[in-house]
């Protein structure tokens, strides 16, 4: 990288660095602020008079006797039973990731290895399906699901989310499979493997990085979804995001808005940890479609 063509004048570097610093503040500050504020009382988090109140927790000290309070978390997790939604989210997300990857690797492999024209058309179809706003599909599901008594259950939502994630999963895995040389499965088949054995014993072991990356994105899609989970799940089966949305409707009572703040922080934590551990995979996944395709 240290070639002369890459050298910049000092002024330009300075401006760019300042821009990046500004961006970092914009990107990270809302999270820090909300995290810090979630341990305060409402009067401090929404302190109109002086923003320093929320930093030092003046009213929190006056109301509870300490500078920090876990009231918001206690209210959300115990009183409003947020833990139930956490378990539901766990079930939904794990199932969606596992099923999506199983279907997606099979399909993506076929699309990457078939040289026929219909494989191209299937990919185009998947692209069109990828562009459908999810809520338009939900309006197609609701009436039949009500009629057949499928509405409100976790398995229904899981299958729907798997299907909605398929176009994206297929595209991403397809582009990862294209990077694995054809000769590998061909030589396995010359040695007497069937197509499926070649896929299972030869290709999948070298595909793990691609599978993990795609799994991460399936996870994010399922975890972050609101349109599908918000409409298709009954009250007791709600996952975290619709649960938080329902807090907003019912928390006009003073103090209860802090339940929502605490729940928001709780729901963001797993994502934070995910980025810490899988930053490289996320970056490679975002660029897989772009740089190679």
């Amino acid at each position: 990288m240290n070639i002369k063509a890459q050298k910049r004048p000092v002024m330009l570097t300075l401006i760019l660095v300042m821009f990046v610093t500004l961006w970092l503040i914009v990107a990270i500050f809302p999270f820090l602020w909300t995290f810090w504020g979630s341990f305060k009382v409402e009067a401090d988090f929404f302190s109109k008079i002086d923003w320093k109140y929320s930093i030092f927790g003046i009213r929190t000290l006056a109301e509870t006797g300490y500078n920090f309070t876990g009231n918001g978390y206690e209210g959300a997790w115990i009183e409003q039973e947020f833990w139930r939604s956490v378990i539901n989210t766990l079930i939904v997300v794990v199932s969606v990731v596992v099923i999506s990857l199983t279907l997606g690797t099979l399909g993506g492999y076929a699309l990457a290895r078939s040289g026929y024209r219909y494989a191209f058309w299937l990919l185009m179809l998947a692209l069109i399906f990828r562009a459908m706003p999810h809520i338009t599909l939900v309006s197609g599901y609701l009436l039949p699901f009500f009629q057949w008594n499928l509405w409100g259950h976790l398995p229904t939502t899981i299958i729907v989310m798997v299907a909605i994630n398929q176009p994206f999963t297929l595209w991403m895995l397809h582009s990862f499979f294209l990077n694995i040389p054809k000769e590998m499965d061909e030589s396995a088949m010359v040695d007497g493997c069937t197509r499926f054995q070649a896929f299972w014993h030869v290709i999948i072991p070298v595909m793990w990085p691609g599978v993990i990356t795609t799994g991460l994105f399936s996870f994010l899609l399922a975890y972050n979804d609101f349109a599908v989970t918000g409409m298709l799940l009954s009250q007791e089966n709600q996952t975290m995001v619709p649960k938080i949305a329902s807090f907003l409707g019912s928390t006009t009572v003073k103090g209860n808005i802090m339940f929502a703040v605490a729940a928001v922080v709780s729901a963001t934590m797993p994502l934070f940890i995910l980025v810490v551990f899988f930053q490289r995979q996320i970056v490679s996944g975002l660029t897989a479609g772009a740089v190679k395709g």
Partner: protein, 343 residues
């Protein structure tokens, strides 16, 4: 790969997509031609000492029976498409005839829910997308000039706005710009106007939603551009320098053309994602001033007393048509590339 093997490999995935994406589109199409049954009313006459009174009551059993027999509702043809809540042909006609200028016509168009949502969706899509590309590119250029040791943490922090759940991200910002939150209160102090509220004015609400959109999507374009910058051919850059090209010429004639496919890719993804803008409107409770196509479908489906399936489906069909228009240029382009490749 043999056709047969291909079919077995793709079958589960294809079946899932046909059952839960293609069929629902068909279901939306069918539902859009029906409206729910009205309630069955019965008229009874109550006669008392002071004369007879006619009373209208709802026949609950008959209504239930009707819904059981025909869950789709009654056939309505294209009437839902043309009514006031959707394309509103009649209202648009009246507005067209009675408005003196194009502006007053547009203004009366904005009183119609569908056009209001359409206008916001389109404005959002075409304002956020370019900003995301430009800001992402500058962040990428900036991060690229940082010392190696700082790059990792910077990328980590930059990823957060994109990775966070859209509804949660919107809420976090919403609480800060609330009149009593840190940004809202500070702005009131700076402008010395205690009635200043970002939520109250339509134009400020629109700007707020778009700022959220850029905040949320900029990391995506940053990462793509950053990865692209790592692979810019150094030999070509050096050759251009030897030939006497200055910095801007090198960027304009080598880096920019090299990054063009990435711009196309980001534009494609961003157009698709921004057109379905929905969660921020829920998160910011902005429905009074800004609604999107997705949001009005959601609102019909949640319906306060009755769920309006027919109305939601009609809006969905129109939205799908909109997505089709967005995708046409891309499909034509891919089709051309594909043909030139195989020939």
């Amino acid at each position: 790969m043999k056709h047969r093997t291909f079919m077995w490999f793709i079958l589960p995935s294809l079946a899932a997509m046909i059952l839960f994406i293609a069929l629902p589109i068909f279901s939306v199409f069918t539902q859009s031609f029906f409206v729910s049954h009205g309630q069955v009313l019965i008229e009874t006459e109550n006669c008392g000492p002071f004369g007879c009174k006619k009373e209208v009551t709802v026949d609950v059993d008959a209504t239930k029976q009707l819904n059981m027999e025909n869950p789709l509702g009654k056939f309505n043809g294209f009437k839902t498409y043309t009514n006031r809540n959707h394309l509103a042909f009649q209202e648009v006609g009246i507005a067209w005839n009675s408005s003196a200028s194009i502006f007053s016509f547009l203004k009366s168009l904005l009183n119609l829910p569908f056009y209001k949502a359409l206008l916001f969706t389109i404005t959002y899509t075409f304002c956020v997308t370019p900003f995301v590309i430009v800001i992402g590119l500058f962040i990428a250029l900036g991060v690229n000039s940082l010392p190696t040791i700082l790059k990792g943490p910077t990328i980590f922090m930059s990823l957060l706005p994109m990775i966070v759940t859209p509804l949660i991200g919107a809420l976090i910002l919403y609480w800060m710009i609330d009149a009593e939150g840190i940004i809202g209160a500070t702005l009131q102090k700076v402008f010395d106007d205690s009635s200043l509220s970002l939520k109250a004015s339509p134009s400020l609400t629109w700007i707020m939603l778009m700022v959220y959109g850029v905040w949320h999507a900029a990391p995506f374009s940053f990462i793509v551009f950053y990865a692209g910058l790592q692979t810019v051919p150094e030999d070509t850059l050096e050759a251009a320098m030897i030939d006497g090209a200055n910095r801007w010429q090198r960027i304009w004639y080598i880096v920019v053309p090299y990054m063009m496919p990435l711009v196309v890719f980001i534009t494609l993804i961003q157009l698709m994602d921004n057109f379905r803008v929905f969660e921020p409107i829920v998160g910011f409770s902005a429905q009074a001033n800004a609604t999107s196509l997705s949001w009005i479908i959601y609102n019909d489906l949640r319906g306060q007393d009755v769920q309006l399936f027919g109305s939601a489906s009609t809006t969905s069909m129109l939205t799908i048509l909109g997505v089709g228009f967005l995708l046409i240029p891309i499909l034509v382009r891919t089709w051309r590339d594909f043909n030139t490749k195989t020939v």
